[in-house]
């Protein structure tokens, strides 16, 4: 059989038992990565809002960084979708003739409005710096900065005060927007009535919780790495505060995902026979060991142990990142691994060797590129905007820590 005539999906699907003849794994690695990235977007934004809205002073050194990080991730969020479409050039039709009965049609609106909120907030946060640069810099860079000012050079006390107020409003508005962006991804899955593993009203909330833990964990890891690379002081108070957020949302994620699993097992509908085989045998390592034990239970345990160290925070956050990725994998690939006939299984095998366009597109290289891109973007943004310059020195840190507990303050 010629490669051109291979059915879409046959390249990476192995079928066992009885599966419908047209049944393949149609949603592959791209759809695993897409909710992972939007999850990081939502989580990072919520973290930055915690400083702006709830006034958590100790989060100040990560507030700007997590906002820009969220934006960098947001820019890359549609790319896995574009890679996934078999007719990517037609994707503009999502804007031309949206069919709002479909959850996917909401993408443009949710995505663009969220983008507007994030961009506006970034503009207000960095406005004084941009204006300063626009006045100083010449040449191309100067032009860019001038364009970025949107023609306003007002840095008076009054204007700065207005900025502060608007940032607060945008950060507050951004929280539900971020929740919507990710909740709707959960809805896309939760509303598929033909896939028993997905079909639960809890899905948007499960996705939201795992989004926040992955976003916060992503910020912890990137912040620690970024500071360590630049040999800057890492503020323990910020890390501790982020870990506290992580713990709360980890608990929520464990509860929601656990409830979902228990209901599937307890109600034991027709699909449970095959679902239990999937969860406890075929996906046992991926789901029980990596997603649950390593990705949620162990980090929670590590974070709850007294006297949190930097190393322990870093390890837990990394584990959470791996666990959430595994969760996306288990949901997307696992859901499709059960044949809709409930009498067979499909196994996903990613094509590694790029011996055709399809194999390349579905392989690890574009995905690897996608996952690295946000960090490259972050690096570029850091060149243009002072993302990391708001660094606490030991005194600042000790001060905010003093606001937390007196005992911690005494240590420094």
């Amino acid at each position: 059989m010629e490669a051109a005539e291979l059915a879409h999906g046959a390249l990476w699907t192995i079928r066992e038992g009885f599966t419908y003849p047209n049944e393949y794994i149609y949603w592959t690695i791209h759809i695993v990565v897409y909710p992972y990235i939007t999850g990081l977007v939502a989580g990072a934004f919520v973290l930055s809002s915690m400083y702006h809205v709830f006034g958590k002073e100790e989060l100040k050194p990560v507030a700007r960084f997590s906002l820009v990080f969220s934006f960098a991730l947001l820019l890359m969020a549609p790319s896995p979708l574009m890679l996934h479409l078999t007719q990517p050039l037609n994707s503009v039709e999502l804007m031309l003739t949206p069919h709002f009965y479909s959850a996917i049609a909401a993408f443009t609106i949710v995505y663009l409005s969220y983008m507007a909120v994030v961009l506006a907030e970034i503009w207000f946060v960095f406005r004084p710096f941009i204006i300063e640069q626009a006045k100083e810099k010449k040449g191309l860079l100067g032009l860019i900065y001038n364009a970025m000012t949107l023609g306003s050079f007002d840095v008076s006390e009054k204007a700065r005060h207005t900025d502060e107020k608007i940032i607060k409003i945008l950060a507050a508005v951004g929280i539900p927007a971020a929740a919507l962006l990710h909740g709707y991804v959960g809805f896309i899955f939760g509303s598929v009535k033909t896939v028993p593993l997905w079909k639960t009203p809890l899905m948007p909330f499960i996705f939201l919780m795992s989004a926040i833990i992955s976003g916060v964990a992503g910020c912890i890891v990137t912040y620690i790495l970024g500071m360590a690379l630049k040999r800057n002081f890492i503020c323990g108070a910020s890390i501790r505060s982020m870990c506290k957020v992580l713990v709360w949302f980890l608990v929520a994620a464990i509860v929601l995902e656990g409830v979902d699993l228990i209901f599937h097992g307890y109600t034991a509908e027709e699909s449970w026979g095959i679902m239990s085989e999937l969860l406890f045998q075929r996906f046992a390592f991926k789901m029980i060991v990596v997603q649950w034990l390593l990705g949620m239970i162990l980090p929670l345990f590590l974070l709850l142990l007294p006297r949190l160290t930097m190393f322990r925070a870093f390890t837990s956050a990394t584990l959470v990142l791996i666990g959430v990725f595994m969760m996306r994998w288990d949901v997307v690939i696992g859901g499709q691994s059960m044949s809709r006939s409930f009498a067979g299984f499909l196994t996903y095998k990613m094509p590694i060797i790029p011996n055709s366009i399809e194999a390349f597109r579905e392989g690890p290289f574009p995905i690897g590129f996608l996952m690295i891109m946000p960090f490259i973007l972050l690096f570029i943004f850091n060149r243009v905007l002072p993302v990391f310059t708001e660094v606490f020195n030991e005194d600042d840190c000790g001060f905010t820590e003093g606001l937390l507990t007196k005992k911690d303050h005494a240590k420094h």
Binding site: V92, M95, L96, T97, A120, L150, G151, S152, D154, I166
Partner: protein, 174 residues
């Protein structure tokens, strides 16, 4: 209000651009037919596309134009419900063997050939205990003839003895 409105203008500009683009690029016949946005939101020209799709299986009436003898024969036989194209339309264009170019002369698009393999006959006549034992023709309910291909003259083409078009034995052996 001064500078704070500037991002709003940017957003408005984007929205207006998108609306303009929409007006230009949405096909004029894109509509929710009968007001049914849920199930009938589509480009109306697409319906015509499917209506204009080429008809390929033209049935016995088409073959009859030249092969009236064979068609008459099969109409009276146990194979009366079997279409010519069932056996003679080739899924592999390489097996096309019709002497006249049907595509150019008649606008007929299928590849016609002759398949004498046992596999073809086995599709109906290999014995399976769960195959219906009878079938219906104009002559009433007829017993469905099935054989065990491993025991019934294996290795020999069915058409050695059987005349497909009469669904009986060949009278003049070749």
């Amino acid at each position: 209000m001064s500078h704070a409105w500037r991002p709003v203008f940017v957003v408005l500009a984007v929205v207006v651009t998108m609306l303009v683009v929409r007006v230009i690029f949405v096909p004029s016949d894109f509509a929710a037919k009968n007001g049914d946005y849920k199930y009938q939101w589509h480009r109306l020209a697409s319906e015509q596309f499917w209506k204009d799709f080429s008809v390929k299986h033209k049935g016995r009436e088409f073959c009859q134009q030249c092969h009236s003898e064979l068609v008459d024969k099969i109409k009276d036989s146990g194979h009366q419900n079997v279409q010519c194209e069932n056996c003679h339309a080739m899924s592999d264009p390489a097996k096309k063997s019709h002497p006249i170019n049907l595509k150019e002369d008649f606008g007929y698009l299928l590849d016609i050939g002759v398949d004498r393999s046992r596999e073809l006959c086995k599709r109906c006549h290999a014995e399976l205990s769960y195959r219906p034992p009878t079938y219906t023709t104009t002559k009433g309910t007829v017993k469905f003839k099935m054989i065990d291909p491993t025991k019934h003259n294996p290795g020999v083409e069915c058409v050695m003895c059987h005349d497909v078009h009469t669904a009986g034995f060949k009278t003049t052996g070749k």
